[in-house]
Each structure stands twice: as C-alpha cells, then as structure tokens.
Symmetry: C2
Subunit: 129 residues, 2 copies
C-alpha cells in the first residue's frame, strides 16, 4: 500500500500534523504540511511545514535551532491527519514553552490558566527585534 | 481573560481539537469543533464535534456508546488548535481501534503498517448494516 495515496490533503493541499514528543507523550504543537513538506520531512528526518499565515515552506527550528528529529509518522483512519513522534531539541513553542499547549481552561469554561513554566522568552530564542 | 476570545475559529467557524487519552498520553483522534460544540463539550463534560463531511453536530459515542469524559481543555499559543484530555470509554476509532492513528509509515516513506490491534470490528460496534 502506498502511503501518499492514503492521505487526503485539503482544498489548499494541506494536512494537519500533530507533533508529539516520543519520550514523554506530550503533544507539542500542531502545524500544517503540504506534500512537499511531508516529503522533505521523510527525506531529512526533520519536520518541515507550510505556514498558512506566511505562505511559506519552513523547517521547524530554522531560526531558533529548536529542530525536531522524526521518530515515527502515523496517520488516522480518514487519512486526513498526521501524528508525528519526535525528539524535540529545546522548546517547541516560539513563546518559549516546551509545548504550545501551555494554557488550559478553568473548569467553569470562562477563564484560563498557564499550566507550565516558560523555559525561555522569545527574545532568548530569537534575539531582540 | 475570557477563554473564547483567545480562540481563532477558521473561515468555516471551526477549530481542530486533538483528543488525547489522559491516562496514557495516547493521541486518540482529531476532529473539528465549532463554538456550539465546544460550549456543549464544556457544559456536559463530554466531547461534541462538528462533522464537516456530514455537516452535522455530533456527540462522540452517540451511536457507539464510546463517549469521552473531558478531563482538561488546553489550547495553543496561536489559539487555533485545542488539546483535550479525556477518559475514553471503549475504542475511540470507528474502525474498532483504540486510536484512529493505528497505521505508521515504514522508514522508506513508501509503505505503511498497522501498528496496533483491532479491538472490535465496526460491525461489533455499530451492528451490521
């Protein structure tokens, strides 16, 4: 069975990729891939994405050095979502948190709290702008 | 800080929700929510979604009985993805697997393998059609 034929890219040619830290099971981020970025990810063993806001192909860590080494690529029953296990170098989130999911909703659904420590500031990672 | 104001729903009014099993850290599925299904999820403590293919509001487990009890709702730095921790009753996948991500790519990127056991067939879950 050919892998790419099992996948459904959306009208923009994109598929969401959930990035999970292989060692801890923590979900680090979700980003979008087109076929070229998925091919590059498989070819190089480092995650590559497509930025919808910047309309740009990018490698995770290209400016921060916080790359992701790919350990496994799975996809779901509908073939429209990827789940990629990685070894994360540094913090995954551009805001300096290990995971982009660093805020949770309080139980009443109306407020939120920061649930994990900030490891570095964006300035630490990218330099002052 | 008001939770809903932190979220970015897309042009169709939808936001992707990653569903993770709280106990094991396993990613079970990814599905889409609109604001109404998110509000219903928070109100009832059971996951509700919006089906893009059926254009229909649905509760996970409404036909299979395989509901998801919500333990935590987090969202990412961009506010455009949810990560929901659940306790899963039965199998999450409509194909009878615990997780919808039951297939992985072999290392050459061209083939795939089933990586986990099928717990039940769809007929077991939904009855013969």
């Amino acid at each position: 069975m050919i892998f790419y034929e099992q996948l459904k890219f959306d009208a923009q040619g994109l598929i969401p990729a959930i990035i999970q830290e292989a060692k801890t099971g923590r979900v680090l981020m979700m980003a979008w891939m087109n076929r070229a970025s998925l091919e590059k990810t498989i070819e190089t063993g480092k995650t590559h994405f497509w930025s919808r806001s910047r309309q740009k192909f990018w490698m995770k860590g290209e400016s921060s050095g916080h790359t992701q080494a790919v350990k496994d690529i799975a996809f779901d029953c509908d073939g429209d979502t990827l789940l990629i296990q990685v070894e994360q170098i540094g913090a995954a989130c551009h805001e300096g948190y290990q995971s982009c999911f660093f805020r949770s909703v309080e139980c009443n659904g109306a407020t939120l709290k920061v649930t994990e420590p900030q490891l570095a500031t964006p300035e630490d990672i990218y330099g002052k702008k």
